[in-house]
């Protein structure tokens, strides 16, 4: 516990206030009928040592990447995090500060925000970026809300099965209370969203597309953008930041708004959060951007400096007319992404993307040679691909792999009942050839347990 006041302090403080006790102070504020008559039951307080013991005992009950090889992805990836990221981000000057309301004593954070925004525009090929949103899912939804705001007469949102299912579930939740219709198109056998071209019409506000998509497959964003723009709709692309070391940028493909999960950029998996919602857009949409934005200006002495700007978009000024309700955001994760991208540079990004792609190709070719498995989609992929277990025993497969020290992929059954015999497999730069071989062999040799196979 972290208290300061000694009994003597309390005595002096109460005397200065002119009350007898803290209880009397509280009684002057909180009416008696609603005051608690007992202590909260939260267990006994733990000392630092006891807390450490409790945490370590619980930690032992988790399988983690410390002990297991990770082939799981689906929007959260085991990318390598250089030591510099942790060393800098664990400085108290960063992580124990808050929103830079006082620019004079927040130039560190503000300059990092400005650098982050610039890096995201360089990465996406779009004009402006905000300083962060919560995560990839809520960023995708904020993108859709922006588009609906641009054209109030257009209420149709076209999306596809290739967009992360949890992002689409989040979208469904958000649109339940507002007037909008979400149309979701199926994937073709290649694993791409070619059918979304037919779904775009004159009432469409936007197309929400993911490329590379949830299954790792490459969408033809250029073609979809062209069709959307002809119909007067905006294009929101969910992208993978790492892929941009090999693939064209969202801005170059015609996306108007680009959103991403920024966990890949130097942030730990942490069972789902905190993560980093990335959002960039075209210049003409800047006043509709949600969230904080740092901008450049000069101080009274003429020095270049940075401040929070365009705040008339935000809730503390505009209240119910704000572009979003977001207040606290993910600055610390954006700092980590900024450090990460500074360390990588263009060549490091290319190398990371290339490692991911080459290793994924190798894993894909290797597993496709095993009789038990087939590829779910025939089209090209980036760092992820789905396989079908002809024996239909994904649960048994997973259990077996975990025993061998491997998290073999993400079972797709919870998202698509018809794919309950499939695993989504991600291979990052962190995996070695020997580890990939071990993964292939483990899956190939897994016993088929329990129920009858589909084959």
């Amino acid at each position: 516990m972290y208290f300061f006041h000694t009994d003597e302090d309390r005595k002096q403080m109460l005397a200065a206030i002119g009350v007898e006790s803290v209880d009397a102070l509280i009684a002057s504020q909180v009416p008696a009928p609603v005051r608690m008559q007992r202590m909260l039951e939260l267990g006994p307080p733990l000392t630092e040592l006891q807390l450490e013991q409790r945490a370590r005992e619980l930690a032992k009950k988790n399988v983690s990447l410390d002990s297991h090889l990770c082939f799981m992805g689906a929007g959260a990836y085991d990318h390598f995090i250089p030591a510099v990221v942790d060393a800098i981000a664990s400085r108290g000057e960063y992580y124990t500060s808050y929103t830079p309301y006082q620019a004079e004593v927040s130039q560190g954070n503000l300059q990092v925000m400005f650098e982050y925004e610039t890096l995201i525009t360089q990465l996406t090929g779009l004009d402006v970026s905000n300083a962060s949103l919560y995560d990839g899912g809520s960023a995708a939804v904020e993108g859709v809300l922006m588009a609906l705001g641009v054209s109030p007469a257009r209420r149709r949102v076209v999306t596809t099965e290739g967009v992360h299912p949890e992002y689409r579930q989040t979208l469904d939740t958000y649109v339940a209370g507002i007037e909008a219709e979400v149309v979701t198109v199926d994937l073709d056998p290649q694993g791409t969203s070619s059918a979304c071209l037919e779904a775009i019409d004159e009432t469409t506000a936007c197309v929400l597309i993911q490329h590379p998509n949830f299954f790792g497959c490459l969408e033809d964003v250029e073609k979809i953008s062209a069709a959307a723009h002809r119909a007067g709709a905006l294009v929101i692309q969910v992208f993978d930041p790492i892929s941009l070391g090999m693939l064209k940028r969202p801005g170059d493909l015609g996306a108007d708004i680009a959103v991403a999960e920024g966990q890949s950029l130097g942030n730990r998996l942490a069972f789902g959060g905190p993560y980093l919602g990335i959002m960039a857009c075209r210049q003409d949409l800047v006043r509709r951007l949600p969230g904080r934005i740092a901008g450049q200006t000069t101080d009274r002495r003429g020095n270049r400096c940075w401040v929070l700007t365009l705040q008339t978009r935000e809730q503390h000024i505009r209240r119910e007319k704000a572009t979003s309700n977001i207040c606290s955001n993910q600055t610390l994760l954006a700092l980590r992404a900024t450090i990460y991208l500074s360390l990588l540079g263009p060549e490091g990004l290319r190398e990371t993307a290339t490692h991911c792609w080459q290793k994924t190709e190798y894993a894909r070719r290797s597993i496709a040679r095993c009789e038990r498995f087939e590829l779910l989609h025939s089209g090209p992929t980036f760092k992820e691909f789905a396989i079908r277990d002809r024996a239909g025993d994904v649960a048994g497969l997973f259990e077996h792999a975990v025993k061998q020290g491997i998290l073999p992929g993400v079972p797709l059954g919870p998202f698509w009942p018809e794919h309950d015999d499939c695993l989504l497999v991600a291979v990052t730069e962190s995996r070695t050839r020997a580890e990939i071989d071990r993964w292939t062999q483990t899956l190939a040799e897994a016993p088929v347990s329990g129920a009858l196979s589909h084959a």
């Binding site: 807390l51 619980l58 990092v112 650098e115 990839g136 993560y275 901008g295 401040v307 700007t309 503390h316």
Partner: protein, 485 residues
């Protein structure tokens, strides 16, 4: 002492050919992207990111960090933000590989320790709030507000009631009306009375069969506990509406009173405030919500439940509003909250609030000789003073005071909020500051009012920059670096 070379922008420090991170050769047989991938997908050039050496990166960000004030370095009495000490032990424990290197889609059997903590945290938050239904999913306080309003809307839909209106107090955080708008609800504002409390008559006048929720901050943003709380909640309930508690100020009432006991039906916590998760320069936070049992079926999915000896993620909740984000939640922040609560226990948490209240009242008793405190004779964990008289008499504004305090080595209080107090100065000292620090702060404030107006108007004098031109930043926005032409 200041290193101006390395605090240039990353893009200005960049030199073609510098590198930090390297992976080396790929160790698998190579495929050819040009034949394996469609030509129109492949980039023809790389994103123009800066090129830096590792030493550049470390020196750049280390020097930049020294331009920030933070809780680790300074007293940070930013009202409404609860800038308390962030325990180092929580940082270490939340960073254990078996906590921080866990994939979000790992099956329940492989994360029993994690689920046990999260399940226990749900119970702890329920006990502290007096509201039994808990969702840990929302990513921030504002996100919790939105989620809770969606829960309320789903509840009314399930009863076939058309209640499109949310009432918010005029002293409320801006997130309240913004969240209501995002949930597709209409906002109306309830006035404060001359005491700074909810104007009960105005509330009663506006409550009707269209009212879904009254959003209340209690203690409110003036740091006052609303003494009419029982009448307020009874009035809302008798109109068929629900009471939402904005939990931003929970640091004032831990173990003293519970939202569920004073009539709130839904609430959010800000664990990055109340339970010491660090503020991260603006985030991450988290925004867990607690609700009454009849609202629990509508909470987002999944929630953690214990079945026999196993902890599981329960997705099978047919009335749930669904997801409000991807994956489980801001787990790193939630773990820190868990460690914080377990470090204190019930008695410890009550002392947190008692000391926070004591410190705020002590500081108030010292400041009131310098600035007017227009509302109340005492306060809870924070108070709002006004520089209006100082402005009239000496031409010094709340902003001037805030800026000059920086020279004295103090972060400024929140200024110009809440909107109902002119020249508002909102100070929240928290329980993790000493009497000496509070004395020094009051002393500085006193000395500032004695200084020449010119000195104060031009403050701060000791910081890297002073009085940036906000108007220019907004009128001619430069929100990214561009290559000089």
């Amino acid at each position: 002492m200041r290193n101006k070379q390395h605090t240039q922008l990353l893009f200005e420090l960049s030199r073609p050919g510098r590198r930090a991170h390297r992976l080396g050769a790929v160790d698998v047989p190579s495929a050819d992207p040009a034949t394996a991938l469609p030509a129109n997908a492949l980039a023809t050039s790389l994103p123009p990111l800066p090129e830096l050496a590792e030493g550049d990166v470390v020196r750049h960000f280390t020097n930049l960090s020294t331009l920030n004030m933070s809780v680790d370095t300074h007293f940070y009495p930013l009202g409404s933000c609860t800038m308390k000490y962030n325990p180092k032990r929580n940082e270490r424990l939340a960073s254990l590989p078996a906590m921080a290197d866990v994939h979000p889609l790992q099956p329940g059997e492989t994360i029993q320790g994690m689920l046990e903590i999260l399940c226990e945290l749900q119970s702890l938050l329920a006990e502290i709030s007096g509201l039994p239904g808990v969702s840990l999913q929302p990513a921030a306080g504002a996100h919790g507000e939105l989620t809770a309003l969606m829960v309320a809307a789903a509840y009314f839909r399930s009863r076939g009631e058309d209640r499109p209106v949310v009432l918010t107090a005029d002293s409320a955080h801006g997130t309240n009306p913004a969240s209501a708008a995002m949930a597709g609800l209409e906002t109306k504002t309830v006035k404060s009375d001359s005491r700074g409390l909810v104007d009960l008559q105005d509330l009663r006048r506006q409550l009707d069969e269209k009212t879904a929720v009254f959003m209340l901050t209690n203690p409110n943003t003036l740091g006052l506990f609303d003494s009419q709380i029982e009448e307020i909640t009874a009035a809302v309930h008798s109109a068929g509406g629900l009471v939402y508690l904005d939990g931003a100020n929970m640091n004032a009432i831990l173990g003293i009173t519970r939202p569920g006991d004073f009539g709130a039906d839904l609430m959010h916590y800000n664990p990055h405030k109340t339970f010491s998760g660090p503020h991260g320069g603006g985030g991450p936070g988290a925004g867990p919500i607690c609700v009454r049992d009849f609202l629990a079926p509508f909470l987002p999915s999944p929630i953690v439940v214990k079945r026999g000896s196993q902890y599981v993620l329960d997705h099978d909740r047919p009335q749930s509003i669904g997801r409000v984000r991807s994956f489980f939640g801001n787990v790193g922040v939630l773990l820190r909250a868990y460690f914080y609560i377990r470090s204190h226990g019930g008695e410890g948490l009550r002392r947190v609030s008692e000391d926070a209240v004591l410190s705020a009242n002590y500081l108030r008793s010292r400041v009131k000789h310098i600035l007017d405190v227009p509302h109340g004779d005492s306060c809870m964990h924070e108070f709002v003073a006004s520089a209006a008289r100082l402005k009239k008499e000496k031409g010094l504004t709340a902003m001037d005071l805030a800026k000059r305090l920086l020279d004295y080595g103090f972060h400024a209080p929140t200024v110009y909020f809440p909107l109902i107090v002119p020249e508002a100065v909102m100070a929240e000292p928290t329980e993790t500051e000493s009497k000496e620090t509070l004395d020094a702060f009051a002393e500085a404030l006193f000395r500032i009012t004695d200084e020449s107006s010119e000195t104060v108007h031009q403050a701060p004098h000791s910081t890297a920059i002073s009085r940036p031109d906000d108007v220019r930043a907004a009128r001619q926005p430069i929100v990214r670096w561009s290559e000089p032409s």
